[in-house]
Symmetry: C2
Subunit: 253 residues, 2 copies
């Protein structure tokens, strides 16, 4: 397997054609997976915004006030409002905003960026990243999977790592259920989130700064002869961590 | 960057020399990172065990009984005892055992395996995986980083992905603090967990089944000119998710 950053891509703006830019910069092959940073998907889709677009409602003002009281740091209630409007579920509202975005990803601040935004105050995540991946995939001249990537913090572990937030042309996971190990025992580990692992690989190569390398091609990797699963995001019923967080209050801790 | 599974490795047993086996099977280069699955590290370190080694105490019996009452599935209280003895902190005890291992990793069942164990009932994680990584590293003839990998489930997201549990010869993370994006703004994302991303890459290549490919070489990847950080595991004070989980009870939910 090989992974390389597509060289010499331009700065992307609303309306730009990512697929054509990629194919102008490198020759894709049929065994490639194209990993595209969500930042450029958001930019071409015009997902920039200003704080003034989000007049703060009572909930956002309350969250911002509580945050300031606890941390001493200022928080713009309009930013909290933007996060709430991008989210369907508030998992934690202190000491930071952890929410479920409209497409199912649980992340801090609904993934809204304030750096590398192309000059805007806010850069929102793509509205439906798997549909974005599919659009890029359809515009490519080669039949390859496309993964839209972001970086995300993790409970229990320091730092951030690359994760997938959208994908097309391949399943999200390899399903090893029913397969056996070298001793002939059924495997305990059953579902491998390959799109997240591809995104982690892409992030290793591109780096957090994006540095003009927002697209990484993973070459000569195969999904293999396994069942696939389309689920990447847990639903609330099966996610005990999320259930616990919804009931937890920072002030009581 | 390139990643390949080291071909033709033997089945490992207690006392075997992993470094020599790797170098007999491939020529390492100075720009390599060697990723070794924790299963073989555990095997060569003799970390196999039997359920009979863990006579269940009252706590383990209570956990097993509660598990059976709630799920209808049988749980051997000796297995719960083994998990408790490998752990320093019980993060959740239902509906599954989530604990902090003695070296800081938070995982289900303290990472104790019951498949791909080389015939033993239980395969425990290495006692101090970073020391294991350092020992392998010192035994290699080339000066390269070594990462000991495992697979781990994640809150919020389906499936498992490769993660690092030990590392030597490189920092755990790249620290981008103070660096700027293309617009000249300071980056919001500050710490990139590169050892986890390397482990995810290795798992993409080796697959969950291990299939005789427990060692993956990542070639031609560079840490780059960044500060490094040695922290991979969050401590309890900074981990709000873990705080919430400790206070949460499945029965009340």
């Amino acid at each position: 397997m090989e992974a390389f950053a597509v060289p010499g891509l331009p700065e992307f703006e609303a309306g730009d054609d990512v697929a054509t830019a990629i194919e102008s910069a490198c020759d894709l092959r049929e065994d490639d997976v194209v990993c595209v940073a969500s930042t450029i998907v958001s930019k071409v889709e015009g997902r920039t915004a200003a704080l003034a677009d989000y007049p703060a409602g009572p909930r956002a003002r309350e969250i911002a006030a509580r945050f300031e009281a606890q941390t001493g740091d200022e928080r713009d209630p309009r930013f909290a409002q933007a996060v709430l409007e991008e989210s369907t579920d508030l998992v934690m509202d202190e000491p930071f905003l952890l929410t479920e975005t409209r497409f199912g990803h649980v992340g801090v601040n609904a993934g809204i960026d304030r750096s590398n935004t192309g000059g805007a105050e806010l850069l929102l995540l793509p509205k439906r990243p798997s549909e974005s991946a599919e659009r890029i995939r359809e515009a490519l001249s080669v039949d390859v999977p496309v993964v839209v990537t972001d970086t995300s913090g993790r409970p229990f572990r320091h730092g951030q790592a690359g994760v997938a937030i959208g994908w097309a042309g391949m399943p999200a996971s390899r399903d090893w259920r029913g397969e056996t190990d070298r001793d002939g025992h059924e495997l305990e580990v059953t579902v491998e989130s390959v799109v997240d692992e591809l995104a982690a690989t892409a992030n290793l190569v591109s780096g957090e700064g994006d540095d003009g390398t927002p697209v990484v091609v993973v070459r000569d990797w195969t999904f293999g002869d396994h069942e696939g699963s389309e689920n990447l995001y847990r639903d609330l019923e099966s996610d005990f961590v999320r259930q616990a967080l919804r009931e937890w209050s920072y002030e009581e801790a």
